[in-house]
């Protein structure tokens, strides 16, 4: 089972992220990733977490989030009817011409963008489902990852399904 994706709408106020993460810590919920961003109405932010938890833990987590005063709406996104995206920035060491050739091929196959290139490194931007990023990292591990950064998963449901009202 891939991790579950839970999205929730919060008041866009100082301290809310602290309270959310404090809740996860206090109740022992282990979160794989969390993303936050303001909505078009800047009074609200949308947070998305991915969490690898059994049904009971997931139920408790959603109920505890829902109870928070700053949380307006919380929902586990239907895995079959949700688009999920994560972005990866990765700097690959490519002094060796063979490595450089491999790197360019993998990036191209993944429809990645090359953001910077110099004699020693390539910085690539890859966007996709988190599992695709995992797979890509598996390919390029042999080339040599100098550094990398992942954004965490953001997600939205298809069709009429939605988080807000």
């Amino acid at each position: 089972m891939p991790p579950s994706t839970v999205s929730f709408l919060v008041e866009n106020q100082p301290g809310v992220l602290f309270k959310v993460s404090n809740l996860f810590r206090r109740r022992g919920f282990n979160i794989d990733s969390i993303t936050v961003g303001a909505l078009e109405n800047s009074n609200y932010s949308r947070m998305t977490i991915t969490v690898d938890a059994d049904a009971k833990t997931l139920h408790n987590l959603i109920e505890q989030l829902d109870k928070m005063l700053e949380v307006i709406k919380v929902k586990r996104l239907d895995p079959l009817r949700t688009v999920r995206r994560e972005m990866l920035l990765v700097k690959l060491g490519t002094i060796d011409p063979m490595a450089r050739e491999d790197a360019l091929r993998y990036i191209n196959n993944q429809h990645g963008l090359i953001l910077d290139i110099d004699d020693e490194n390539i910085i690539a931007e890859i966007t996709g489902e988190p599992e695709e990023l995992d797979q890509f990292l598996g390919y390029v591990r042999g080339i040599g990852i100098v550094e990398m950064s992942r954004t965490g998963v953001t997600a939205i449901e298809k069709g009429r399904l939605m988080l807000g009202e």
């Binding site: 602290f18 404090n22 009971k56 139920h59 829902d66 109870k67 005063l69």
Partner: protein, 562 residues
């Protein structure tokens, strides 16, 4: 809109909420507020430690069903409140704390008496907020009271930087506050009621367990009505004590680790268990797999996140206990087509154990259960009892009968030693004409005994019954039963002479060696103008029984230690 300084806006805001008593201690960051309080009719009750102030506010809140207010200065004043807030929060008691804070431009610089109390208190409050301008004060106060006192009640904290109290602003007092993420759902869903009522109506061996939610929602009359119609034996959790009269023929008393035999034996044997306003604490359930393995459990709670949290139940009713019980009773009366026999109810007497109290004395000692039963007899039915935590608390829960809601108060969830005495002072401030007794142990009383100064000064003559065994008794009991009598860090050789201690504070102190003396001391204490401390020497080897050994189920309840 009116131009006034923040401190005045704050005091006016409290007055608008109907506050009459504030428990607290002043300090640098509170000076402007305390100055304004001189011009207010609100009574400021000066504690001697902020923890005591928070417990006083908690006791006050529980007795009156009204928000209790405590106040402390920045830094150590604020951190000293934390145990009190945690105690109130976990027991769903409406307590509002207001803390001073350093000036806004100093926040974050580790200034003198600066502490991030918002961060510190986040885990032990239902809501907290720091105001950032004088104009925000009325809204923050209104919000705090609204949140503390609605839904599942709890503790809140408002942190006020000192310069927000000295500066002027255009102040407006809001009539109401709104939170999109704060949804109150007191009205139960009719479908949930239908389903639950159907199960209840078919029950052959129904049993009810009442938690603190019954008291919080004022649902005792509805609970009694339903229990009588179903002929359902009714137990309570520790927090539910008082929610169902202990002298009712269907009363089983306390269920759980130190529950009565009849409660602990009958809960697992029931076919339908209606749990109202209880969160299935581990101390109430014992080993969860043995709690009620073949029972259909119906859970009524106002807090949806409590459903299936600790015990997975068959069905639920989310909503206010009073309305839920009304809805259930009305439906069950309609649905049930047969008359139940008295067979199930009559089993209460089969399981009930009569305690052997022929010997009042145990060598030079009095026996705690006998003392507590005598205390109950000497007090009027509406007297208020608080307890400390440990053996005294469990003896009180077992032997001090409570007849009406809000007459028995204890730190059930957090188990805060030192809670009962300041809470009793808050209770006395709430109901000055009712006798208030703290059932204490020497260990617990030692933790907050400095509140005697407040009780004397404010003329709040509570009675403290110190069951004195010179030991941290409950821990010693565990060491005796489960650690081969290896007593570690429990013996209180330096316990003070409580008679002299009381005298030093200007209170009345008395040591009793016979039950006759004890009863006389209680009678004098009821009439006294000063607090009374009754020192009752008890046997350090006496155990609280019955007991479910840790990790075992209710069915494994032991009546004797060996």
């Amino acid at each position: 809109m009116t131009e006034m300084i923040g401190a005045k806006a704050f005091v006016r805001s409290l007055e608008r909420e109907g506050v009459e008593h504030i428990f607290g201690i002043s300090g640098g960051a509170l000076i402007p507020i305390c100055d304004e309080l001189l011009d207010s009719d609100m009574r400021f009750i000066l504690a001697r430690h902020e923890q005591g102030a928070a417990h006083m506010a908690d006791g006050y809140a529980r007795v009156l069903n009204k928000v209790g207010v405590c106040m402390a200065t920045s830094g150590p004043g604020a951190t000293n409140l934390v145990t009190g807030l945690a105690s109130a929060q976990i027991d769903s008691s409406p307590v509002a704390a207001f803390t001073g804070q350093v000036n806004r431009d100093v926040i974050g610089s580790d200034g003198f008496q600066e502490c991030d109390i918002i961060g510190v208190s986040a885990s032990v409050t239902k809501y907290n907020v720091q105001v950032r301008a004088p104009e925000e004060i009325p809204y923050a106060v209104k919000t705090a009271f609204h949140i503390a006192n609605t839904g599942r009640k709890g503790a809140v904290l408002v942190d006020i930087p000192k310069d927000c109290t000295t500066l002027s602003g255009n102040i407006e007092f809001p009539e109401k506050v709104e939170f999109r993420g704060y949804r109150l759902n007191p009205e139960p869903d009719p479908h949930e009621l239908d389903w639950a009522a159907k199960i209840l109506a078919e029950a052959e061996r129904p049993l009810i367990m009442a938690g603190g939610g019954v008291i919080a929602s004022g649902a005792s009359p509805e609970l009694v009505e339903l229990a009588e119609f179903l002929m359902a034996p009714t137990a309570t959790s520790l927090m539910g004590k008082g929610g169902f009269p202990n002298d009712h023929p269907l009363s089983l008393g306390l269920c759980g680790m130190h529950g009565t035999m009849e409660a602990n034996m009958m809960v697992p044997k029931s076919d339908v268990l209606l749990v109202v306003g209880s969160r299935f604490s581990d101390r109430t359930t014992g080993r969860i797999a043995d709690f009620a393995p073949n029972t259909k459990i119906i859970h009524v709670d106002i807090d949806r996140s409590e459903i299936d949290k600790n015990v997975e139940v068959m069905t639920r009713v989310v909503g206010d206990a009073k309305r839920a019980l009304q809805g259930l009773t009305e439906r069950v009366k309609r649905l049930r087509t047969w008359e139940p026999t008295t067979e199930w109810r009559d089993r209460i007497t089969e399981f009930r154990r009569v305690y052997d109290f022929e010997n009042e004395n145990n060598g030079p000692y009095l026996r705690a259960p006998v003392v507590i039963r005598a205390l109950r007899e000497e007090l009027p039915r509406d007297a208020i009892a608080t307890t400390e935590v440990g053996q005294n608390q469990m003896w009180a829960a077992l032997h001090f009968d409570a007849y009406t809601p809000r007459t028995f108060h204890t730190s059930g969830g957090l188990g805060t030693m030192g809670w009962g005495f300041p809470a009793s002072i808050g209770a006395k401030a709430a109901k000055p004409n009712v006798p208030v007794v703290d059932i204490a142990g020497d260990g617990s009383f030692g933790m907050t005994e400095n509140s005697l100064a407040t009780a004397v000064e404010e003329e709040l003559p509570v009675i403290v019954v110190v069951l004195n065994n010179n030991v941290l008794g409950m821990v010693a009991q565990w060491q005796r039963l489960f650690y081969d009598r290896r007593y570690s860090a429990v013996k209180l050789k330096g316990t003070p002479d409580f008679v002299k201690l009381a005298d030093a504070y200007g209170a009345e102190g008395v040591r009793v060696e016979t039950m006759k003396d004890f009863r006389a001391a209680v009678r004098r204490g009821i009439k006294a103008d000063v607090p009374t401390v009754i020192d009752v020497p008890i046997d350090p080897d006496e155990n609280v029984m019955p007991m479910v050994p840790p990790g075992m189920g209710l069915k494994d309840t032991l009546m004797e230690a060996d």
